[in-house]
């Protein structure tokens, strides 16, 4: 990784405490003032299997996980077998020689340094349980990168807050034994990858889901209903933890159908409401999505994608639901589909989602995926001074009194009708999933039907003017232009950095708003670019298909991956080179 950076990976079976250990290491690096990106991979089970937690820590900003590993912490043999080829030249494996017999010949390469640390023995010495091998390994890792031990103990105290005192003390002791072991044997001098501590700037370390949750709280989300489903569940956990301090009602419902319908009920009653799920749950929500549209009830739906079809790969990542989300539910109706690409966008776009939902009285879908939902990234504290709460044409009691005859679905120039909520005098109406007239009363009249459809779509004409244009990263005169959406943003940004070393000028048009779709700018970009390529984490190039549908233009090259894993920046680089030289 070079000066001032480290790629660290810990691996072991589920139940080894991999997630906690990884998160503590991540936080230790973040608190030292480094930029961090971390990435977890785990199968869908609670015990056994193979889990990994990778932490990339750097002095400069880091946008994604990386293929190469500097230090591999192996809590079992499988970790070595699976990941040794990821080690950089001169990389190291930290392992327990009492449990794993490992000699240089096993690896078929001579450059790898082997650090035998008796993890299990030290865990037992600490007085804690055998599982505290993970904390011993953590202590040893922190010693290897040259940080003070105090960094671990303070993070451990925060992360284990609320746990039994013994648990905290034993873990700290176990970490200290691991730390001291490395120092005593002076292993860190051999490893020579000390990380600088660039204290000063305090950053947050959070996942996309947590950023969505923070955004929802800030946006005044008052009602959150959801059914657990990986990888969306951590939004439920976050919201539930904030329920009382921020005056929200958070409901774990009986199923996803109830989740979205409750949110619709709350939105109808005037509370800002959100639900989140993954593709399977969203399938169940589809019918109600149309109900929100025809009743013009504001709701925000977060879809954290994972690979399908059906249960698919429940804990892995994919961008396979774009077309589904754009078209889900019967009939034509406008919906916003917003795909944030990093934690900052998760925060700001969530707030925007709530504003758009109320201004345009329609469903807004935020589209994430497991990679974005569950990876932590360091971020500056979000700038909140400019944030506005826009409730559109929601009338207050005085306005409602003045309006005279209130028509909830009044035909207006913008298509946006005045909105009242139950308990407001003079605002009585019945919302209905059936077609209806301006008052909300049932109507199958052909003129009313046509005008009502036009009215709903007219709102979207208005919305198109407000939605921000996609951003172009990198030089204007690039040799290759990447068009992509969602979580691939991070790996693409890293790839562009790497390609610049090879003097391949690449730029990147990030599509955040998939609906309304920025057809004009994409069309212009395709016309003016030397070579265009989509990078998508799905089988069928769903964005490229959408571009063709909306612009009539074919994106020349498609870089696709659909093995349930996110692109490594180096993979993108390699494929871009192929496009350059063979395309």
């Amino acid at each position: 990784m070079g000066v001032g950076g480290l790629s660290w990976k810990i691996g072991g079976g589920a139940g080894y405490g991999i997630m906690t250990t990884g998160f503590i290491f991540s936080k230790v690096c973040s608190r030292a003032g480094l930029h961090v990106f971390d990435h977890i991979e785990y199968p869908s089970l609670i015990r056994g299997g193979h889990n990994t937690y990778q932490v990339i820590a750097k002095v400069e900003e880091v946008f994604s996980h990386l293929k190469k590993v500097d230090l591999l912490v192996a809590l079992n043999r499988e970790t070595i077998d699976r990941h040794e080829d990821e080690l950089v030249l001169g990389g190291a494996i930290l392992y327990d020689g009492d449990k794993i017999s490992l000699i240089e010949e096993d690896l078929g390469r001579k450059d790898v340094r082997l650090y035998n640390v008796p993890l299990l023995r030290l865990a037992e010495e600490s007085g804690g349980r055998r599982i505290m091998m993970n904390s011993v390994a953590l202590g040893a890792s922190v010693a290897l990168i040259g940080f003070d031990f105090a960094r671990i103990s303070s993070v451990m105290r925060d992360v284990f807050q609320g746990k039994a005192r013994d648990t905290i003390d034993f873990n700290i002791k176990a970490a200290k034994l691991g730390y001291d072991y490395v120092k005593c044997k002076a292993i860190e001098k051999d490893f020579r990858r000390e990380l600088p501590e660039v204290d000063g700037k305090k950053r947050m370390l959070l996942t996309g889901n947590e950023a969505v949750g923070l955004g929802a709280v800030k946006a005044g989300c008052k009602f959150y209903s959801a059914y657990p489903m990986t990888p969306s569940s951590s939004i439920l956990h976050f919201m539930a933890a904030q329920e009382r301090s921020f005056g929200m009602v958070v409901k774990h419902t009986e199923d996803e159908i109830a989740a979205i319908n409750m949110a619709i009920g709350a939105g109808f009653a005037g509370a800002r409401a959100m639900t989140a799920t993954s593709g399977g749950g969203f399938s169940l929500m589809s019918e109600a999505l149309g109900l929100a549209a025809i009743t013009e009830t504001p709701i925000v739906v977060v879809v954290c994608q994972r690979p399908g079809p059906s249960t698919g790969l429940p804990t892995r990542t994919e961008q396979g639901d774009l077309k589904f989300i754009l078209h889900a539910s019967q009939g034509d109706f406008p919906r916003f589909v917003i795909a944030p690409g990093d934690v900052e966008e998760c925060f700001y776009r969530t707030i925007e989602a709530f504003n758009l939902a109320e201004k345009y009285q329609c469903p807004v879908i935020l589209l994430l995926d497991k990679y974005l939902s569950e990876s932590h990234k360091t971020a500056e504290k979000f700038e909140v001074s400019e944030i506005k709460i826009e409730r559109g044409s929601l009338l207050n009691d005085e306005e409602l009194e003045k309006i005279g005859e209130f028509k909830r679905y009044e035909f207006t120039e913008t298509g946006i009708s005045p909105r009242a909520i139950p308990s407001q005098e003079g605002g009585i109406f019945t919302a209905t999933g059936n077609e209806h007239d301006e008052t909300g009363y049932l109507s199958e009249d052909k003129t009313v039907r046509t005008r009502m459809m036009d009215k709903r779509f007219r709102k979207f004409e208005q919305a198109k003017k407000e939605v921000p244009e996609p951003e172009l990263f990198g030089p204007q005169d690039a040799e290759v232009t990447i068009i992509a959406w969602g979580s691939t943003k991070g790996p693409i940004k890293e790839a562009i950095r790497l390609l610049a070393h090879d003097e391949i000028r690449t730029n990147f048009l990030q599509i955040v708003y998939l609906n309304p779709f920025p057809a004009d700018i994409i069309s212009r970009t395709i016309d003016t670019s030397k070579k265009t390529v989509v990078v998508e984490n799905n089988k069928t190039a769903q964005l490229a298909n959408l571009i063709r549908e909306k612009t009539g233009k074919e994106v020349e090259h498609k870089i696709l991956k659909y093995d349930g894993r996110q692109f490594f920046p180096t993979e993108i680089c390699q494929m871009i080179r192929e496009v350059m030289y063979n395309g």
Partner: protein
Amino acid sequence: MVELADLKTVGQPNWCPGCGNFPIWHSLKKAIVELNLKTHNVAIFSGIGCSSKMPHWVNTYGFHSIHGRPLPIATGARLANNSLTVVAVGGDGDGYGIGVGHFVHAMRRNLNIAYIVTNNQVYGLTTGQTSPTSDKGYATKSTPTGVIEMPINPIALAIASGATYISRGFSKEMKHLTKLIVDGVRHNGFALVDVLQPCVTFNRKNTYKWFSERVYKLEETNHDTTNKQAAFLKSLEWNDHIPIGLFYKEIRPTYEDELQQIAETPLARQKIEDINIGTLMTEFE
């Protein structure tokens, strides 16, 4: 004072002449008058089916939603504004068929919702198929050789699921039904009013006459409405003798009562500008 005239809307029900929904509709309106509720503080939620059109014909806030989902929508609205009087209405197909999962969960939550089920034991709007409460053996378009499974027993299900006001009315007994609705709305908790509602077009068995020969009022017996076991035994009576009236009632804190965050101000009336997330962001450092 709210009067019946205040509850009139632009439209008129389009049910079949003689439909058992008419008396239920009248009873609901009479109950609102008797309770003297402000029309803008009442919200009526329904699903899909003949009876689910009812909100359009009562001048309160209403939500005529999708099949089987009135309870979750009513739940969201009630939690968003716990100052509202929330009534849900729908048929047996809506509540005991496609929506039965929500029915059970709404009851165990003991939300303060009054749920009127217009139970005609047949699918009307889809022109006469079997319903979850059709009697065993009853032949319909979808079961030409007769229904094989046992019918759902909504009263027994409600007792098992923890509803705190469980009653059954009969369309023909409007005064009796109105009282059940009034008491059900007044009850602080989940109130079920299952209504025997003859479908004059598609149910040739469970007719006004059939019910009239069988129903009797629990109030006229020595039934103890605080005794869950007695209520369960009564719930099992069908065919020869069919009890109507209040089966069971208990006082238990509602779901809303346990939420301190809405004790003072309903969510929908809470201020959402300038929410301070400074401390929350610091927790991520």
